[in-house]
């Protein structure tokens, strides 16, 4: 493999990993703070992709579609938290798994009713549709670089939100000791709604920006939820920074696995998980 092919794979691995991080960060945040195992988190990714498809067709512009889609995702997050998830905080994980699995079925059925079972494409916005030439016959699409850039910005934003803002302090305080946080005047119910909506929106946003490269198809959420759980487990359940590192590791091992060991490509990520868990059974990092 020459340098430029290697560079392309490296960028692809990074882009895939960062996108995974967006999905997994919401999953691990919701687990770390509210203790919810949310199997339906992958469905939020799918909802995002289908929203991007419909809204881009409606507005003729992916950028507007994403802005609208993010707004709708926040509202959907608040609604779902209020209708379903808040009843599960005090429950056993088994109930959470049952209900959120049920939600996957509901989301898939709704998707089938509303959008049908066809595969759809979403156009890359014109100003991001170019490629950067690397050699005479190799080039790299600007849109993929843009995905990585946006994901990095969001990772930074998430760090800032959790580590540096008062809201972040309240979120961490609420995760550590719910009753004490309330006794200091923090509205925990509202905080949980906000965190849930944030987690859902991160996944939906990942679906939206991934739509032009991955296309939009039935059961796309099912694929992403499994790999997201792998990321969360490797990173350390509840740790956002662990999820970032784990997602990039997975992105790289998957991408390079497909290139270097194509016949074992399906195994590389799970092999990585097994090795990390043998070395550190709790994952790479502890809870944020």
């Amino acid at each position: 493999m020459d340098f430029y092919s290697f560079l392309i794979q490296l960028l692809n691995g990074l882009q895939y990993g960062l996108l995974l991080f967006l999905v997994a960060s919401g999953l691990t945040l919701v687990f770390g703070i509210m203790g919810i195992i949310n199997l339906a988190h992958g469905s939020f990714y799918m909802v995002g992709a289908y929203l991007a498809f419909s809204l881009a067709a409606l507005t003729g512009n992916l950028l507007t579609a994403v802005l609208l889609g993010v707004t709708l995702s926040v509202l959907l997050g608040m609604l779902l938290e209020w209708l379903f998830y808040r009843h599960l905080y005090a429950r056993d994980h088994l109930y959470q798994v049952l209900m959120t699995y049920g939600l996957i079925l509901v989301f898939e059925e709704l998707r089938s009713i509303l959008w049908g079972d066809d595969v759809h494409g979403v156009a890359v916005p014109v100003f991001l549709s170019g490629s950067i030439p690397l050699t005479d016959n190799l080039s790299y699409p600007v849109y993929r670089l843009a995905i990585s850039g946006i994901c990095l910005l969001l990772a930074g934003g998430l760090y800032w939100l959790i580590r540096k803002t008062r809201l972040g302090m309240m979120i961490r305080a609420g995760a550590a000791n719910r009753e004490m946080a309330q006794a200091l005047g923090i509205n925990i119910e509202w905080l949980y709604t906000v965190v849930f909506a944030l987690g859902l929106t991160l996944a939906a946003f990942a679906g939206m920006i991934a739509a032009p490269v991955s296309s939009v198809y039935p059961n796309m959420g099912g694929e992403v939820i499994i790999i997201s759980f792998v990321v969360v487990v490797i990173g350390g359940i509840g740790s956002v920074w662990g999820a970032l590192l784990a997602a990039i590791l997975i992105g790289m091992s998957d991408t390079f696995g497909k290139v270097l060991l194509p016949e074992y490509a399906g195994m590389t990520t799970y092999l990585l998980m097994a090795l990390v868990l043998l070395w550190r059974p709790e994952g790479l990092f502890r809870r944020t």
Partner: protein, 235 residues
């Protein structure tokens, strides 16, 4: 008599099927200091949790300046100006000392902001030296200072201290009592639960003694006779 700051009447509180409070009456006026006394398991902490909205009494009413807050959410009651220093401290170990303090900051209800980070750090110089440490890395005494400092950051009208000196070395406990005394000096109403009755009685205006979920004594601290102490507190 002026309207009390906080008044509970006829509280019956249950944990599941167990009946803990049996018709408790409790009141505290602005700036007043009350010693809440009783052996372990007599309902002191349950009374506090009922006042704070952490557990809903099944019968009875809690009023704040005359307004019914019996069903109010805990965070709403806190925002009225009630701060709590719980038994076992309740610091956030995953936040730094500074974060523990500033996450709680709130101006007082009438817009005054008397307790600021600077003033807390003057009062607790040991915290100033450890601002960037994690809350979980502090010693027991420092954690207690942090919890008290954090409660003051909300600029409360009423401060509830549940076993603030429990498990502390005597010298550190003496520091904590000194701090409580200075807090008393600025007119914040306080409810203090503590096993050190000597220090407690020097500080409070009135004593409330609980036995098995009932109030058996509620009067001036000076009237708390040795007989009652022997009988109900077993010292």
């Amino acid at each position: 008599m002026a309207e009390p700051l906080l008044q509970a009447t006829g509280l019956h509180t249950y944990y599941g099927a167990s009946h803990i409070l049996h018709g408790v009456d409790f009141r505290i006026g602005s700036g007043e200091a009350i010693g809440l006394m009783g052996r372990n398991g007599m309902g002191k902490t349950t009374l506090i949790r009922s006042l704070l909205g952490h557990v809903q009494p099944r019968r009875g009413a809690v009023r704040w300046r005359g307004a019914d807050i019996t069903q109010a959410a805990a965070h709403r009651i806190a925002r009225l100006g009630v701060a709590y220093v719980p038994e076992g401290r309740g610091i956030f170990p995953n936040l730094t000392v500074k974060e523990n303090l500033i996450m709680a900051a709130r101006a007082g209800l009438d817009g005054r902001c008397e307790w600021t980070l600077e003033r807390i750090l003057q009062t607790f110089p040991r915290l100033a030296e450890r601002l960037s440490h994690g809350g979980g890395q502090l010693s027991g005494g420092e954690q207690q200072m942090l919890t008290i400092g954090r409660a003051l950051m909300t600029n409360p009208e009423l401060l509830i201290l549940d076993e603030a000196t429990e498990g502390l070395a005597p010298l550190i406990a003496r520091d904590i009592w000194q701090i409580i005394r200075s807090i008393r000096g600025c007119g914040i109403a306080t409810v203090i639960v503590d096993k050190n009755y000597g220090a407690l009685l020097e500080l409070v205006d009135r004593c409330v003694v609980m036995v098995k979920g009932r109030v058996v004594f509620d009067d001036d601290a000076a009237r708390l006779s040795d007989e009652i102490v022997q009988k109900y507190l077993g010292v």
